[in-house]
Symmetry: C2
Subunit: 231 residues, 2 copies
């Protein structure tokens, strides 16, 4: 593929055709590549993204309180979510990186990918204004926004367990992977959660370490007699 | 003054006439007053404010790096600045507070005043859209934006002194007002900055305690051989 074919493909995936392709190229330029890079665009794009998502959640959840809106937004704009979008766009293949980052696989790094998504938002804004960038953000996030519910605003079990123990000045839990079973792409994780005030470690399982830890923390909350999910 | 005259006066100071005065009234209702309060509007207004200021700084400082833009924005949107704007609008006189907050002088509290400014931004957005809220933000902030310069992005001396000592795992400085001279409205503060690794406390003076502390910290940075203002 020629450079121009590659840029065409990228714009199709993003769903936006740049009037000035230099905007897109700048958005794809990581600071390791040189002093003309996407950091300023990222600053701009981050602010636009936060605002558009805030506005959308405000409308979508008329009953949500401020804290719930904040937590829903945090879920939407966090690095993991943005990196997922970057993967959908195959941004890694288009990033301009310095040689150090190239060698160390920077095109796979979550933070670099997430920043590039924000930079593209900034670039679309510069290229044709607020409405275009807003329209793209909502299109990219629409499946994720559609799946949100107010139940998602409950704090996760690990956070609640930690806060519960801290409020009682008790030692914090330690998590330990005690077993991993299954093939590489379909593993089950077994995690033990050691809460010093409980006699026995609680156990959790899940398809990732994170999920298994949440599971073990939820069991610990039960064992401590703490409600799992307050309103 | 009747209620409607007071609302008129407030709208004149803000520079915006609401189509639905209920939006303004909600923006002035603190959570201590009841469950129908300005917290959701504040969430919305905060995001709009951050975005409009980001966009303005991006344009105004084409040479600024991302870190500089971030610091300039933090200065603009911090609580102290918003509370100043609230005082210009005399918002304290219009706040609806619960009886507890009323008694404890909540109408003078910086955070409550700052939140009310963000709520008004959210209210204007709901009342007539993004362009109107953007126009008002830029009008309110215009004197402050006009005074900004890239030099302001340097970290202040106290912050740099603290970071320098922390990075060397050394004890942090203590500041002490050793003298205050002059009439009430024209005082000079004398502050000593005790840095454990320095033999003698350094001294600073200024028209406020804060300025005197900065001065003393700058002298300590000199004594430690640290550059006062890196680029």
């Amino acid at each position: 593929m020629t450079e121009s074919e590659r840029m065409d493909a990228l714009q199709r995936r993003i769903g936006y055709r740049f009037q000035s392709i230099a905007h897109l190229r700048l958005a794809m330029t990581h600071r390791s590549h040189g002093s003309d890079n996407n950091e300023r665009l990222e600053f701009l794009g981050d602010a636009i993204l936060n605002m558009v998502i805030a506005q959308q959640l405000f409308q979508q959840f008329p009953e949500a309180r401020e804290g719930q809106l904040s937590r829903l937004r945090a879920r939407m704009v966090k690095g993991v979510t943005l990196a997922e979008i970057a993967l959908e766009f195959d941004l890694g293949a288009h990033l301009l990186l310095g040689s150090g980052e190239l060698k160390s696989g920077g095109f796979r790094r979550e933070s670099i990918l997430a920043d590039a998504v924000e930079s593209i938002i900034g670039a679309i804004y510069l290229d044709s204004g607020f409405d275009a960038s807003r329209e793209r953000i909502l299109a990219w996030f629409s499946p994720r926004l559609g799946q949100l519910s107010l139940q998602d605003t409950q704090k996760d079990a690990k956070t609640r367990l930690q806060e519960y123990l801290q409020s009682r000045q008790q030692e914090l839990p330690r998590y330990e992977v005690v077993d991993v079973r299954g093939e590489a792409h379909q593993q089950t994780f077994y995690v033990a959660c050691n809460v010093p005030v409980l006699e026995k470690a609680t156990k959790g399982t899940g398809s990732s370490r994170r999920i298994a830890e949440q599971d073990a923390a939820a069991v610990a909350l039960d064992a401590l007699g703490v409600e799992r999910s307050p309103s």
